[in-house]
């Protein structure tokens, strides 16, 4: 994504464009120069002299449904941890009082429907995932936050993982020293007899990434309702 933000006489001028994600390694660049953007999409007028700008990363505003590129099955009585990454959004805040100009998605994911039928369900974003299990293989990209998701299959049958819905609006965002972004861990258990999944969100105060490095909390969840987390997670196995 590209953002150009200019500060004119009592106004902020914003130009933004989103890119299509490819396999090239992503990097973030920032430059400050004199003058205003050549093209402007939006103008935000104000009456103060404040020129402070803050770019705050947050997680997406809808759950993200991750689909493995190949069918993945979790065998009976097994437990694995997948590392799922989701694109972050950037909040553009200005002034000392942190007034929000706009919230932009780093990558505009495709819309998708997650539910048992076309009548009942939830609007989500669709995301393809490699469903990586090896942490060393997980690329650390500046525009994606990684969620460690532990899944345990207590049932007698193998569990096909066709779609995994991550309720990212209910997860807080953390940052590591190397710039990588992480969300809270989630553990999901499929019961022996039922298709419902019980969920545990790891709420330890000393947040560490899977490497054991300390993490800093960057953004609070968009929705703080803990019941909502359970509800959203209970739909994990829908569509499997």
């Amino acid at each position: 994504m590209k953002i150009e933000l200019g500060h004119g006489d009592g106004e902020w001028l914003l130009w933004s464009a989103s890119d299509v994600e490819d396999d090239r390694p992503a990097r973030s660049r920032m430059a400050v120069r004199r003058g205003l953007p050549e093209e402007v999409h939006e103008r935000f007028v104000h009456d103060g002299p404040d020129r402070q700008v803050t770019l705050a990363p947050v997680l997406g505003d809808r759950p993200v449904v991750a689909r493995p590129r190949q069918p993945v099955y979790l065998l009976s009585k097994q437990e694995v941890t997948f590392y799922l990454s989701t694109p972050i959004w950037l909040k553009i805040l200005v002034g000392s009082s942190q007034l929000m100009l706009r919230e932009l998605a780093s990558i505009r994911l495709s819309d998708t429907w997650f539910g048992p039928s076309t009548r009942v369900g939830e609007l989500c974003y669709a995301n393809r995932t490699h469903a990586r299990r090896n942490l060393a293989e997980v690329p650390l990209r500046p525009h994606r936050a990684i969620t460690p998701l532990r899944i345990r299959n207590n049932a007698q049958e193998a569990l096909p993982l066709e779609k995994i819905s991550l309720p990212v609006p209910m997860l807080p965002l953390f940052g590591a020293e190397d710039g990588s972004l992480w969300t809270q861990r989630a553990t999901l258990v499929r019961d022996e007899v039922s298709d419902l999944a019980s969920v545990r969100i790891e709420a330890s105060k000393d947040h560490l990434d899977p490497y054991g490095r300390p993490l800093t909390r960057i953004a609070a969840p968009r929705h703080e309702n803990p019941m909502a987390v359970v509800r959203a997670f209970s739909t994990f196995f829908q569509g499997f």
Partner: protein, 293 residues
């Protein structure tokens, strides 16, 4: 003495009328206040449609109680009034069958919950947003900003499509490609176009349906799903994107073709490929004579 009694009676009558009037005015005020208060409280908790029904119900109930009290104050017996109202209703019912039919249809419409205030419905050729569902009619606002009143009886009898009932909708695109095209290749291109547009839902997946061998083209139905708010935007965008993708891949969207066939018994039409016709100056006298034939 008699005069004094008459004065007292007339005074008492005036007081009764005054009380009755006061009761009606009080009832009106209370009904208005209660219904408005309820509307404020319910605005966030209920849909506009339910809120409207509850508001009206409360308004008329409160007003009805106070009017009944006022009538009672005037010396009317409620039993007699109810009886009279019953007879009057039957009489009015016979006299105004259409109105009564609309009224009953309105009750069924409200009970059925087929649509609510704010929904987008299609009745026959008419599409519009429901402004209100009243006792006798439903009011719509069409896209070209016209106010349309449809009698409830008509709605009960006709097919009504609620466009905003479910959160997602399907767009069916009817396409035709030339007979020379590879259908599998066309399918891949359409899938790529749908995949590239973020408004097009990933799930339910786009559907590719081969609908038949047409007169001039291979007919295809390509169906994509979209959130209902983005319906128009995607329908316009994806049509343009499909055309562009077909053009880039050299896939022909054919015009209607017509081949003339003269049958087996007759000789085929002589067809000549006409290249650059020789100018008249270069043509010889023979050709001139042939022209004249």
């Amino acid at each position: 003495m008699l005069e004094q009694l008459q004065t007292l009676i007339s005074l008492e009558g005036a007081v009764r009328w005054g009380r009755a009037l006061f009761l009606v005015v009080l009832g009106l005020l209370l009904a208005l206040m209660t219904s408005r208060l309820l509307q404020r409280v319910m605005r966030r908790r209920m849909t506009a449609h339910v809120a409207q029904i509850v508001r009206r119900l409360v308004f008329y109930s409160v007003l009805g109680v106070f009017i009944a009290a006022a009538m009672s104050e005037l010396g009317f017996s409620l039993t007699v009034i109810m009886g009279a109202a019953g007879i009057l209703t039957v009489a009015i019912g016979f006299a105004s069958q259409t109105t009564a039919s609309n009224l009953i249809s309105g009750l069924f419409l409200i009970g059925e919950h087929s649509f609510e205030v704010g929904d987008l419905i299609r009745v026959g050729d008419l599409t519009g947003e429901v402004l209100s569902i009243d006792a006798l009619s439903v009011k719509l606002k069409t896209f070209d900003n016209l106010f349309v009143r449809i009698p409830n009886e008509t709605l009960i009898k006709s097919q009504v499509t609620t466009l905003t009932r479910y959160p997602i909708r399907r767009i069916d695109l009817a396409l035709g490609v030339a007979y020379k095209e590879d259908i599998e290749h066309v399918r891949e291109i359409l899938a790529r176009v749908a995949d590239a547009n973020p408004l097009c839902l990933d799930e339910p997946a786009p559907q590719f349906i081969f609908t038949g061998f047409g007169d001039s083209s291979l007919n295809i139905q390509f169906s994509v799903w979209v959130v209902r708010e983005n319906f128009l935007e995607l329908r316009n965008a994806i049509s343009a994107e499909i055309k562009k993708a077909f053009d880039e891949s050299g896939i022909e969207i054919p015009f209607p073709h017509r081949t003339l066939y003269a049958g087996e018994a007759t000789r085929p039409f002589p067809v000549m490929l006409v290249e650059d016709a020789p100018s008249r100056d270069q043509s010889g006298p023979d050709s001139n004579s042939q022209d004249g034939c």
